[in-house]
């Protein structure tokens, strides 16, 4: 207790900061989710859990939740496979490696909205560069191109492609850092024992990357689950709820329908889902433990 008091002046500011920027907003979100808030933002009193019932009772809720799972699994999965390949390549010495490593950072350094908008405009009918290309090489027969971002399926697929693209740099660098901690002797020993390159990678290198991969996956799951801008740009003009994830649905409640109470309730659900996923993941994979 005395130690705690002595430490307080040093940890106090940090605790206050966490309380102000983390705990307070979370608390406010939980509070708002149990209130009836009018469209112009006036609090009309508590309603218990009615907002949650409305949100879960919405006929598209379960499809949206399912789509969110697909979104997270596919994006994180593809990102991981791509990053492992890319990191393995970047770990080899070759002329110009430094430049290639720099180039991999570019999607990381540029704004996500910007990257998505570039792809989005490319996919526009009439003037989009991707559509023009596909029309010119004869893959699309209509002269104005295909409305990629106007059909839920194709728009969602393109959004996933963009999400993988912007997630690659971070994951690649995490894996690359992991690769550099793999001792050369283990690989050499495998080679002396006559193991093939593929066997060496899967049986010797990959197990030693466990720490790096599990941290990268954990961070990616949280990031991808909470990702709004890519889907917002790619699927924003599609009517109905056939391309929505939990995040875009929160946004629709808040921005389009201006139901802050329902948006808060869905946010709380999303928050709990993420906490649950992370808890299970930490329990099963134990990413923070030494190998």
């Amino acid at each position: 207790m005395k130690d705690l008091l002595k430490a307080l002046p040093w940890i106090g500011p940090a605790v206050a900061l966490i309380a102000a920027v983390v705990l307070f907003p979370v608390g406010l979100m939980f509070w708002n989710s149990t209130r009836d808030i009018s469209q112009s933002g006036v609090d009309d009193g508590g309603v218990g859990l009615a907002n949650f019932a409305t949100v879960i009772g919405f006929q598209y809720f379960w499809p949206i939740l399912g789509r969110t799972v697909v979104w997270v699994v596919v994006v994180v999965g593809c990102t991981l496979i791509g990053s492992l390949a890319l990191a393995a390549l970047l770990n080899k010495a070759f002329p110009g490696r430094r430049l290639v490593r720099m180039a991999v950072i570019v999607p990381w350094a540029s704004s996500v909205v910007m990257t998505t908008l570039v792809v989005h405009y490319g996919l526009e009918p009439y003037f989009g560069i991707i559509n023009s290309f596909l029309v010119d090489v004869g893959l699309i027969s209509t002269p104005e191109g295909y409305g990629w971002t106007r059909h839920p399926g194709t728009a969602f697929a393109w959004a996933m492609a963009v999400a993988v693209f912007v997630s690659l740099p971070f994951t690649t660098y995490t894996v690359l850092a992991g690769l550099q901690t793999v001792p050369g002797e283990t690989v050499e020993a495998a080679r002396i024992d006559g193991a093939s390159g593929v066997r060496t990678y899967f049986s010797v290198v990959l197990p030693q990357l466990r720490g790096a991969i599990s941290v990268a996956v954990l961070i990616n799951i949280i990031n991808v689950f909470n990702s709004l801008p890519i889907l917002r740009v790619m699927t924003g003009s599609i009517p109905g709820y056939d391309a929505d994830t939990v995040m875009t649905m929160i946004f629709k409640y808040m921005q389009n329908q201006r139901q802050i109470d329902l948006a808060s309730a869905l946010s709380v659900i999303a928050f709990l889902v993420v906490i649950a996923i992370v808890a299970v993941y930490v329990r099963v994979v134990r990413p923070l433990e030494e190998v």
Binding site: S40, Y126, T149, R150, I238, P239, G240
Partner: protein
């Protein structure tokens, strides 16, 4: 010199810190009265790139006449406007004067001054009576009609001539002409139908009302009615028979009108500012403006009026607000503003001044037949967003009846 620089730096930091605080919504009241002077906070949307400059001119003129009143201008995009105002109200930091669309929700929450309390008698009497009626909740006027627009059919004469099609006045003629134009090929669309989220409610009104339907009145929003069904079914027919551009359900209005301006769309419903857009982007386009075709050919237009409204807040700025409105609505200030943005005036004196404008003539002509959104109904905002989110589903497997039912359900739940 160096001292001034440092002063500038300190001011910049202070400013940044203050705006940062207000931005989080818990900043308390900004714009408190300083000394004898009063500060009016003005929150407006951006109609065009020139909006900020137009307001700056108005404010400069106003502050010169009223040296004891300062006006703080905040310009937001239409996309953000409604969430900004909701956040400000929730944070107890509502602006004094706000320019927006729906206002009935604010009136119902008793946040607004009745217009008669914040305008002089002359200013109040100068508004077009039809617009004032459209701005009333329970017999009291809460919104000052600000600018009006009407819709009309923009027709690409060159394309219609090439296709041998006539300018339509009824739906059947429209379908026939649009199909002829679509058959020209080369990516040309007969009728540009924007059902995407940007402004689906407008295209919905054009069709549902054109078939004799309504969206309801101040008491009830009625979307799922037999009167609205023919319009929705005809939209489906237009799409299914290939009379429109591809993917009508997810096409937004502004990008589609760009394509009309490029000469790739035969006919599309446009607004007064569309005239200016064609003039600046593609003056060679051969086009003409006609009344919107309806089921039986009777004239009709969708009128839209945006409103100014005054928030009560602490109730101590009534005089300053009145001074501002009286200044703004004087014809010499108001008409140039409306003209610069390419809209129509809502005051009698303004209409008189603009009577000779040729470009506005086709719109002023249809204005007497204008019908308005039921924007005084507090549920209209919910209906508006339901149309934006759901009406585009007509381009798809859902039947017209199902789409109307789903919209009605979302309105009733909102």
């Amino acid at each position: 010199m160096a001292q001034y620089k440092r002063l500038g730096g300190i001011m910049a930091i202070t400013l940044a810190a203050t705006t940062g605080l207000t931005a989080c919504g818990f900043g308390g009241s900004s714009g408190e009265a300083t000394g004898d002077g009063t500060t009016l906070d003005l929150l407006v949307p951006s109609y065009s790139d020139a909006t900020q400059g137009n307001w700056d001119d108005v404010i400069a003129g106003f502050e010169e006449e009223n040296p004891d009143i300062d006006v703080n201008l905040q310009v937001e995009s239409w996309d953000n406007l409604e969430s900004v105002i909701a956040t400000k109200i929730q944070g107890g930091d509502a602006p004094d004067i706000y320019n927006g669309g729906p206002f009935a929700g604010f009136a119902e929450d008793e946040l607004l001054y009745p217009v008669e309390e914040v305008t002089s008698e002359e200013t109040y009497a100068d508004f077009q009576p039809t617009f004032l009626e459209n701005a009333q909740v329970g017999g009291t006027t809460y919104g000052l009609p600000f600018i009006a627009s009407a819709r009309a059919l923009f027709v690409n004469d060159a394309l219609l001539e090439e296709a041998g099609a006539e300018v339509p006045t009824t739906w059947d003629e429209l379908l026939e002409s649009a199909k002829k134009v679509s058959e020209l090929g080369g990516g040309v669309a007969g009728y540009g139908m924007p059902l995407g989220s940007e402004e689906a409610q407008a295209e919905a009104a054009v069709w549902l009302w054109g078939g004799g339907g309504t969206f309801g009145d101040a008491e009830a929003i009625t979307i799922d009615t037999p009167e609205n069904l023919p319009g929705a079914e005809f939209v489906k027919k237009m799409i299914d028979e290939g009379a429109t551009q591809a993917d009508a359900g997810a096409t937004d209005r502004s990008p589609l009108f760009d394509i009309f301006v490029q000469g790739k769309v035969g006919m599309q419903v446009g607004l007064p500012p569309s005239v200016g857009q064609i003039e600046s982007d593609n003056p060679d386009l051969e086009y003409s403006i006609h009344p919107i075709p309806t089921e039986d050919g009777s004239p009709f237009t969708l009128g839209v009026a945006d409103h100014l409204m005054a928030f009560q807040n602490d109730g101590d700025k009534q005089e300053a607000i009145t001074a501002f409105f009286d200044y703004f609505y004087s014809a010499d200030v108001y008409v140039p503003w409306v003209q610069a943005e390419g809209f129509l005036p809502t005051t009698l004196s303004g209409s008189e001044q603009l009577a000779g404008e040729e470009a506005l003539a086709p719109f002023l002509e249809v204005l007497p037949d204008a019908q308005f959104y039921p924007s005084t109904n507090p549920d209209w905002a919910a209906a508006d967003s339901a149309f934006k989110a759901l009406f585009g589903q007509l381009d798809g497997k859902k039947s017209a009846q199902d789409v109307l039912t789903e919209i009605q359900e979302q309105v009733d739940a909102g």
